[in-house]
């Protein structure tokens, strides 16, 4: 899939809570406030937008995408080939040149024509593939802008696809996830979401909540019919199990995030411990082809590898060094800070060399920092092929290593490499089940937030219920929880609650 590098996940329908005055008499104060006036602007026009649709960098080819009513004429303004753009039929590719306003050739291009509504955005679309390289691609984009296109905003192609009915909201979000999906598992999880597994689960949870609420509401609205709420235990039990189900889903989010964002692995160790050899050994077998993601600072990432369907970014820094130089020491300290800011810290020890006192101190500092953040540490003992077993340096830091896994390898002979890979995958998933029961992983921040709010609200409701307060106080949080769930699957609460009551109880004097 080609994409706009600036494509950002759109946060649809996200509510922002304002901070409120915390004194009593709140509501009356609210009523007395003058109503907010808001002007509505209708900015949507079907103007034509253009952007570079391939990742930035020196790729093989680059694509400039133009979409909108004027896409064809704008492309025609710069395209010179055997066929003119207006004669091309939809979904065909044509070789030619793209020229600037002076008629000078910028690059040889292939023009791909998609006529509406059969394009990604649902509008007339032309994609110009050129020879890549930042400079040429930018010049072609600039030429289209001079010809009347507007530079697309982040996410605008997807937004148009959404507004033109080419994709629905859930799909739009899944597309955004897919675009961000950098590994196989993330891809699967987005696909599962597209297929509605999550919606089904949420709907089930909602149904049970509606039932609980209707038991409470029954007594409140039909007191005259003699209904009394006697099922506190049952509702409390139901709430507890619902909260724990949602919490299960929530725990998959950190895993889900790893699926989507990848795992940061920091390699640390004294010079000549064999970091480069290990890096090369891993890359030789599992090098991942990754694309640059704009906006992330990746200056210290050396390479990426793909293990068990997950993407690992290997980070190398100055690392652990003994030094007397104060300035250099500061550099080391900063490097250590960055090192500790990873998902997994791999500490390498040289099997042929004892660990010096300064190094022990550095290892201790690093592991402490990583542990405090709740991240994982892995010790790798290198050069076991030439190590003298009785002079095992692990013994020098045993007080630290006994809290962590130690893998013995030889970067040179690849001995122990498989064990290390397995351990990295296990650590990345933190010994947690990778998906909740039913194969669902939460990877979408909006879903996470809605579920989190649901769990919080249900927790409050449970608290109120258990301290014996009347049903309407329980209901206020239950319904907030229900509404939060509704943000994921979409449904109105009141009608569902009343329908549930009417279908199950004999109402009416």
């Amino acid at each position: 899939m080609t994409k706009n590098p600036a494509e950002k996940k759109a946060g649809f329908f996200v509510c922002i809570l304002t901070v409120v005055n915390s004194s009593a008499n709140l509501y009356i104060q609210l009523l007395l406030k003058p109503p907010a006036k808001q002007n509505v602007s209708l900015a949507y026009e079907s103007d034509t937008i253009a952007a570079i649709a391939t990742p930035e960098g020196e790729g093989g080819i680059s694509v400039v995408r133009i979409s909108g009513d004027g896409a064809m004429s704008i492309a025609a303004g710069g395209f010179r080939g055997a066929t003119t753009i207006d004669k091309m039929s939809s979904h065909t590719a044509h070789y030619g040149r793209f020229v600037d306003e002076q008629g000078k050739t910028i690059d040889n291009v292939v023009a791909l024509v998609f006529r509406r509504p059969n394009s990604y955005t649902g509008e007339d679309t032309v994609e110009l593939s050129c020879h890549g390289g930042r400079y040429l691609t930018k010049r072609i984009l600039e030429a289209t802008l001079r010809l009347g296109a507007r530079a697309a905003q982040a996410g605008e192609f997807t937004k148009r696809a959404f507004l033109n009915g080419r994709i629905d909201l859930a799909q739009a979000e899944a597309v955004a996830d897919l675009i961000h999906a950098r590994s196989e598992r993330a891809h699967q999880s987005s696909l599962a979401q597209l297929n509605g597994v999550l919606s089904d689960r949420i709907s089930l949870v909602r149904e049970r909540l509606v039932e609980s609420i209707s038991l409470l509401e029954l007594e409140l609205d039909f007191a005259e019919e003699g209904y009394r709420f006697t099922e506190k235990e049952r509702v409390a039990g139901q709430l507890k199990s619902t909260v724990s189900q949602i919490n299960d889903l929530l725990t998959t989010y950190s895993v889900g995030k790893i699926y989507r964002d990848g795992v940061k692995v920091a390699l640390a160790g004294a010079p000549n411990v064999g970091k480069s050899s290990l890096l090369n050994a891993l890359l030789q077998e599992d090098r991942a082809i990754v694309t640059e993601i704009p906006g992330t600072t990746r200056d210290i990432i050396e390479e990426s590898i793909s293990l068990g369907g997950l993407l690992f970014d290997l980070i190398d820094t100055a690392g652990i060094r003994e030094t007397e130089d104060l300035v250099e020491r500061e550099g080391v300290r900063r490097a250590e800070e960055r090192l500790s800011n990873c998902d997994i810290l791999v500490l390498m020890l040289d099997g042929t060399r004892a660990v010096g006192a300064e190094e022990v101190a550095a290892i201790s500092r690093l592991t402490n920092a990583v542990e405090q953040r709740g991240a994982s540490c892995v010790f790798v003992l290198n050069k076991i092929d030439i190590m003298e077993p009785e002079r095992n340096p692990v013994l020098d830091v045993e007080h630290i290593t006994r809290r962590h896994d130690v893998v013995e390898i030889s970067a040179r002979t690849h001995q122990g490499l498989e064990s290390l890979k397995e351990l990295l995958v296990r650590k990345a998933l933190r010994d947690m089940p990778s998906t909740s029961e039913g194969g669902i992983t939460i990877t979408n921040a909006r879903h996470f937030s809605a579920l989190k709010r649901t769990a919080d609200s249900l927790g409050l409701a449970l608290e109120t219920l258990e301290c014996g307060k009347s049903g309407e106080f329980v209901a206020v949080d239950l319904r907030a929880g229900l509404d939060a769930l509704g943000e994921i699957v979409g449904a109105t609460s009141t009608d569902d609650i009343l329908n549930s009551i009417f279908s199950r109880f004999c109402i009416g004097k």
Binding site: F13, N25, L26, Y27, L42, Y44, L220, D221, C506, K509
Partner: protein, 638 residues
């Protein structure tokens, strides 16, 4: 042709609970109002239950009263039993309800209409409305109405509140007769006229139970249900209720009753398909209950005397359209009713309504300017729902005449707002009744703060007296002072522990702020004010020195509720702010939904039909998915 004022501002069609409020409000706002009713004596008749209020309905009455409406005052004047329902729950669901002397209620209502300046009564019925076409861009505007007496009455606005009278058809067994209420003819012609003008109509059904003779009931064998004493009035201006209070009686159906009723099912208009209209699920007939809840061995029956000077008793819970002989036999199988004399059979009534997506939030129709619909014509059931709409329609008709901004209440402001918003957006398919669970902001839309929420609005409209507003201002000032005092004032263990022990609350070990102490469920501010230093604080001193006992209690109650439930109220306020953010995102009038291809087909259709005014309203329209609402939002934000 009769002599009719040429300068009528508002014609109100129908003198029921909606018509009373509409005509009084418009007249009080300075309009010349003509109330068209079939009979002067029929004004304010209680067609069904001789009772006002109940869960959520009681809230509506309190709101109507706060805005300057009449229902609460009439109910207080003519009430014979008063109860505050749900007293064991939190204050948000306390709901006042009263039984009324049916005849007195109607007389009292008629009297209040009669003495209102600017309001004239016209006996007759409206058979059509006349409109003026004002070009293709503007909507047609109302010109006047035509009556069955052949009069053409010119006017600026019309409020239609014809109740169940539009093509009313009453069923008892398989025999049916035309009529809107027992012994009263239906209103004909108007539905056809409105349909010709482009309105869609539907058919609904409601029912009423038989009436029986009090002297033939074995009262001594029945459980009595007594009034609260002293009663809680509906109206903010009622000082005290001094009417003699009477009990209701409770009995139950039994399996034998159900068997008798089953014998008549082959002659039931409901089960044989004679009745086409949709009835309310929350108010089923007794035959419906027997069928749908087969395993329930008994159903509750309330025997409600209809007044001081009558033998008529309303058999609440026994609404039916079964044949007369079956009704009587069924009744006689019930404990206490073995020898009962049935005075009048129950019946079902089918009537026309106009699905309320056809009105705006002002209750003005979308099709014709200055034509308003209120009450059962919009698909609601219940006197209170009707009165609330009547009041809003009357107010907006008057505002339209005066060319002022319309008056709309938000869902976060009043049950009345919830009611009208639901009608417009969900366009009910069964007779609509208010429930507290329909109000998502229930914890703050309480009956006890109806005046604090709405009275200033009523005053600004010219419907509430200076006296009542002065009272409200004093009340607000003292509530604020009381809350501020409670946040500061500390109470000491030695003075307060005896009280805490008495109400079985845990002791305090050290000084504690009053506000914190009040959070305990059993602690009452009214009990505390006499204790220790509290009585000498300026705030409490001033409250206790008030001469009006009721005002004093109201203030103490407000302080206590605000403090006791502060956490929950705060959460609700946060929800409201979030909610209002969507309400404030306006959608331009005449927005073309056809432009957005990604809307669901149903969503686009519903949006085009209802023309919501905000994103919030759009999201509540049935058939509009959250995805549709998101599309709209993305689109409007550009």
């Amino acid at each position: 042709m009769a002599e009719i004022d040429k300068n009528i501002d508002v014609v109100v069609v129908g003198g029921g609970h909606a018509g009373i409020e509409a005509s009084l409000a418009a007249a009080r706002m300075g309009c010349r109002v003509l109330l068209v009713t079939m009979s002067r004596d029929a004004i304010g008749r209680m067609s069904c239950n001789p009772a006002i209020g109940g869960t959520a309905k009681g809230h509506l009455v309190r709101e109507i009263d706060a805005l300057g409406g009449e229902m609460g005052k009439i109910a207080d004047t003519t009430g014979i039993q008063f109860r505050l329902l749900n007293r064991s729950k939190g204050p948000a669901v306390w709901s006042p309800r009263c039984q009324n002397d049916r005849e007195w209620y109607s007389k009292e209502a008629g009297q209040r209409v009669l003495v209102q300046a600017g309001l004239t009564i016209y006996e007759g019925s409206v058979v059509g409305i006349e409109i003026e076409e004002v070009g293709s861009i503007q909507r047609p505007r109302i010109l006047g109405v035509v009556t069955n007496r052949g009069d053409k009455i010119n006017c600026r606005t019309v409020v239609l509140s014809a109740g169940t009278f539009l093509r009313g058809l009453m069923h008892t067994g398989l025999s049916n007769r035309e009529g809107g209420r027992y012994g009263e003819p239906p209103a004909k012609g108007l539905t056809e006229n409105l349909e010709k003008l482009g309105f869609a109509s539907g058919r609904l059904k409601t029912g009423t139970p038989p009436r029986v003779d009090l002297s033939t009931i074995a009262l001594s064998r029945l459980e009595e249900q007594h009034s609260d004493n002293p009663p809680h009035p509906f109206s903010h201006s009622t000082q005290a209720i001094t009417n003699r209070l009477v009990p209701m009686y409770l009995t139950y159906t039994n399996p034998n009753t159900h068997n008798i009723l089953r014998k008549g099912f082959d002659r039931s208009p409901l089960f044989t398909g004679v009745i086409k209209g949709v009835g309310p699920r929350y108010c089923p007939s007794i035959e419906d209950k027997v069928v749908r809840f087969e395993d329930k061995e008994r159903h509750q029956i309330f025997l409600e005397p209809e007044g001081y000077n009558t033998n008529v008793v309303y058999v609440n819970g026994f609404s039916t359209s079964l044949p007369e002989d079956i009704q009587e036999e069924g009744l006689r199988s019930i404990a206490g009713l073995e020898k009962v004399k049935m005075l009048r059979p129950g019946y079902a009534v089918e009537y026309d309504f106009f699905p309320p997506y056809q009105v705006k939030l002002t209750l003005e129709t979308k099709l014709i300017d200055r034509l308003f619909f209120a009450g059962q014509i919009n698909g609601t059931s219940g006197y209170e729902e009707a009165a609330a709409q009547g009041l809003m329609a009357g107010i907006n008709a008057a505002l339209a005449v005066q060319q002022k901004e319309p008056f709309i209440l938000k869902r976060s402001e009043a049950y009345i707002g919830v009611l009208i918003d639901d009608l417009v957006n969900k366009s009910t398919e069964e007779p609509y009744r208010m429930f507290t669970s329909r109000a998502e902001h229930r914890l703050v839309l309480r009956q006890d703060n109806a005046d604090r929420r709405l009275m200033m609005k009523g005053y600004n409209l010219g419907l509430v007296s200076e006296f009542m507003v002065d009272r409200l201002r004093k009340k607000e000032a003292l509530i604020s002072a009381g809350i501020a005092m409670a946040a500061q004032h500390t109470v000491s263990p030695d003075k307060f522990n005896p009280y805490l022990e008495k109400i079985s609350e845990g002791r305090i070990e050290e000084k504690e702020r009053l506000a914190k102490l009040l959070k305990r469920p059993n602690v009452r501010l009214a009990d505390l004010v006499g204790l220790d230093s509290l009585a000498s604080t300026p705030a409490i001193k001033e409250i206790l020195s008030l001469s009006e006992e009721r005002l004093k209690n109201e203030i103490l109650e407000q302080i206590e509720i605000e403090l006791k439930y502060e956490g929950y109220i705060q959460r609700q306020v946060e929800q409201i702010q979030k909610f209002d953010a969507f309400e404030d995102q306006k959608i331009p009038i005449n927005f073309d939904y056809g432009r957005i291809k990604s809307l669901s087909t149903e969503g686009r259709e519903r949006l085009s039909k209802i023309k919501p005014e905000s994103i919030g309203q759009a999201s509540r329209i049935s058939g509009v998915t959250p995805s549709d609402a998101s599309v709209l939002m993305v689109f409007l934000r550009g």
